[in-house]
């Protein structure tokens, strides 16, 4: 049995006490970020870790990562010896940004000296953290768009099950990135206003940044009331930018995840939906769930609290959900007002009492990536 030991998250919700207050009250904070797109000045809301004071356009924010991991280590009270048996699984849709600094410096290919000693690459962050914290040699960095850290979780569990490692550190990592911000804007996927998942008047995604660090283990090593039962990752080749709106691919991944973990739909106490608030993604997710659940389960989206944190959302939203349930509730979905008659089903608007049970977590992304995870919390 894979155990989830807990962790830490840096997000727009702040420290734990503050973020639980936000999640309990259904409140959140955004900042405005502007850009010049084809000569037009545009402004979009954004969920920032430190309220937009930092310009991380071309900097590698290692201290944020180190901070999150150190806090997670402290929470889980892990020793150096235990960390040496801990593999590292980093999920980020923008890990290639480690290249932006040298590539940006070198944009005219005339500044070779400045990067002469800089070892770069997509595994840069994992390499740094492994050395900094004395982790086990097994590390991988995942870039599967919005399912990156969810897939990292699945593989972490697999490596634990295989006995190759005894602990796993899963990191979801996404910081403000101008190219990403402008890319989504150019594709007209950004909402100019609030993030309103599953609402009739939803207008698109609002991006956010988050770094989460989450430890897993096995019950023969460390017990925990939280268990990672398993999940499924699959590739839906309908479109490179999204799931089939008829829900076929999404229903398949949910069904298989439940089958593989021996959980029936009626055992699910709550669904952490992907809930991006983009028109077709929300439609695809509801249609997918309708093919599996005979009646609407209690489902909610955490994106109105921290934004769409892309590759980080796998572990970040898992941690937030665990914190809510540890505090005795399933969170509501802020901003939801109007039922969409095409979707029919509506998310939890108000928080609901919940302390244990089985939970489904959905993640879907560009590149045909669909991932569903199943976890449980048992009485301590």
């Amino acid at each position: 049995m894979i155990t989830i030991l807990g962790g830490e998250i840096l997000s727009a919700l702040g420290e734990k006490e503050q973020r639980l207050k936000h999640l309990f009250e259904g409140s959140y904070k955004t900042v405005e970020k502007s850009m010049n797109l084809m000569g037009e000045e545009l402004s979009f809301p954004y969920y920032s870790i430190d309220e937009g004071e930092r310009n991380s356009a071309l900097s590698i924010p290692l201290h944020y990562l180190e901070d999150a991991v150190q806090k997670a280590i402290d929470k889980c009270a892990l020793t150096s010896e235990e960390l040496s048996r801990c593999g590292l699984f980093v999920g980020s849709a923008s890990n290639d940004l480690s290249l932006s600094l040298p590539l940006g410096k070198n944009y005219d290919n005339t500044q070779l000296n400045k990067v002469a000693c800089e070892r770069i690459g997509n595994g840069y962050y994992a390499d740094h953290l492994t050395k900094h914290f004395g982790l086990h040699d097994f590390s991988l960095t995942y870039n599967t768009a919005c399912t990156s850290s969810a897939n990292a979780l699945l593989d972490a569990a697999s490596l634990l099950e295989g006995g190759i490692i005894d602990y796993a550190l899963v990191i979801g990592f996404e910081m403000f990135a101008p190219i990403s911000f402008e890319g989504f804007a150019a594709m007209q996927l950004l909402s100019p206003g609030k993030l309103v998942p599953f609402d009739r008047d939803r207008t698109g995604i609002v991006l956010g940044e988050a770094i989460s660090a989450l430890f897993l283990s096995r019950d023969d090593v460390v017990s925990s009331p939280w268990h990672f039962l398993g999940g499924v990752s699959s590739c839906e080749t309908h479109s490179v930018t999204g799931a089939n709106p008829n829900g076929e691919g999404i229903s398949q991944v949910i069904k298989t995840a439940l089958e593989r973990t021996n959980i029936t739909p009626d055992q699910i106490c709550g669904v952490k939906a992907h809930g991006t608030a983009s028109a077709l993604n929300d439609l695809a997710e509801i249609n997918g769930m309708k093919r599996v659940f005979s009646t609407s389960p209690d489902f909610f989206s955490l994106k109105p609290y921290i934004g769409h944190t892309l590759g980080s959302c796998g572990s970040s939203e898992l941690l937030l959900m665990m914190e809510c349930i540890d505090a005795g509730f399933l969170p509501g979905t802020p901003n939801f007002k109007n039922r969409d008659i095409e979707l029919e089903w509506t998310p939890l608007i108000e928080k609901k009492s919940c302390t244990e049970g089985h939970f489904l977590l959905n993640y879907f992304g560009f590149g045909g990536n669909n991932t569903s995870l199943v976890i449980e919390k048992v009485s301590s």
Binding site: L112, G121, D137, S158, E182, C235, V240, Q252, L310
Partner: protein
């Protein structure tokens, strides 16, 4: 232990030409418009391994890369910092996700797990270990595993960002293998050592195996290091290096080359920052 059923490689070294687009166009003229050279390189390598064979739809796809799609980032950099333009949607999509894996899955009609993973060193070794673990646990029945790295010009800059010497010859490649739990029809077995080793451990390991087992070394292994590891043993070396320059996933080229041209068994030894990892390949009788 896992079984290799198919292999396929595309590789070139610095100074040679490889018109990936033209080659891929002869195979799939329709799958060109939204793909860039990196994606086409991935497709071309996977095609060398699989061809027109229909794979089980649940086959997982693990694609590893040391550097990822660097070229798309250069284009995005130029669009933003030089041309002051927003990202072109196609480039943005190709940079954001494992788009190469998407197109490989689409071409071969695969719906299983689709991973895009990277690492600074040992990226092929660790990805193979991941596949071995999933196959041995029964989480997957079959994995199409590939390593793709594209040579970026100027080579001097790339050598420095890869952390290799200016004298080294760079290369690029797309090397794929179809791995399975199924013995029947397999070309070879692969056994990826689960732990890293230090120099003394790798020497001891080499001395413990059949003297007939050949040995090959990764590009980061220097000749003095190789002499130290072999330690006077008369063991035949499998020299794959002449056909390919350095790229992070060249391990897969070495293994594929041995499976295609070699005989008996091979121990592949690679090094990264004074740590060693080894992979043993045993060819199976071919009928």
């Amino acid at each position: 232990m896992i079984y290799v059923h198919n292999t396929g490689s595309v590789t070139r070294k610095e100074g040679e030409e490889l018109d990936v687009k033209a080659q891929w166009k002869t195979i799939s003229p329709t799958m060109i418009r939204r793909t860039d050279r990196f994606i086409q390189l991935a497709l071309l390598g996977a095609y060398q391994a699989i061809g027109e064979t229909a794979l089980d739809k649940d086959t997982a796809l693990f694609m590893a890369s040391g550097q990822g799609n660097l070229a798309v980032f250069k284009r995005l950099r130029d669009q933003r910092y030089i041309h002051k333009q927003p990202p072109k949607p196609v480039d943005f999509i190709n940079s954001l996700s494992n788009t190469s894996g998407f197109y490989v899955a689409q071409y071969f009609d695969l719906h299983g797990k689709n991973l895009n993973v990277s690492r600074l060193g040992f990226v092929a070794e660790i990805t193979l270990l991941l596949a071995q673990n999933d196959l041995e646990l029964g989480k997957e029945d079959q994995v199409l595993l590939g390593g793709v790295d594209e040579l970026q010009e100027p080579a001097t800059f790339t050598k420095r960002t890869l952390g290799i010497s200016d004298e080294s010859l760079l290369g690029e490649g797309s090397n794929w293998m179809l791995l399975s739990r199924e013995h029947e029809g397999a070309l070879a077995t692969i056994d990826v050592a689960k732990k890293k080793m230090d120099l003394s451990e790798v020497k001891a390991y080499l001395q413990s195996i059949d003297p007939a087992c050949k040995v090959a070394f990764g590009f980061r292994c220097t000749e003095p290091m190789i002499r130290e590891i072999i330690d006077g043993e008369e063991r035949e070396r499998f020299l794959y290096n002449e056909a390919c320059g350095f790229y992070e996933t060249e391990t897969l080229y070495a293994l594929n080359s041995f499976i295609k041209e070699g005989e008996g068994e091979l121990l592949f030894i690679n090094v990264y920052e004074e740590n060693f990892r080894v992979i043993k390949v045993s060819l199976l009788p071919r009928f």
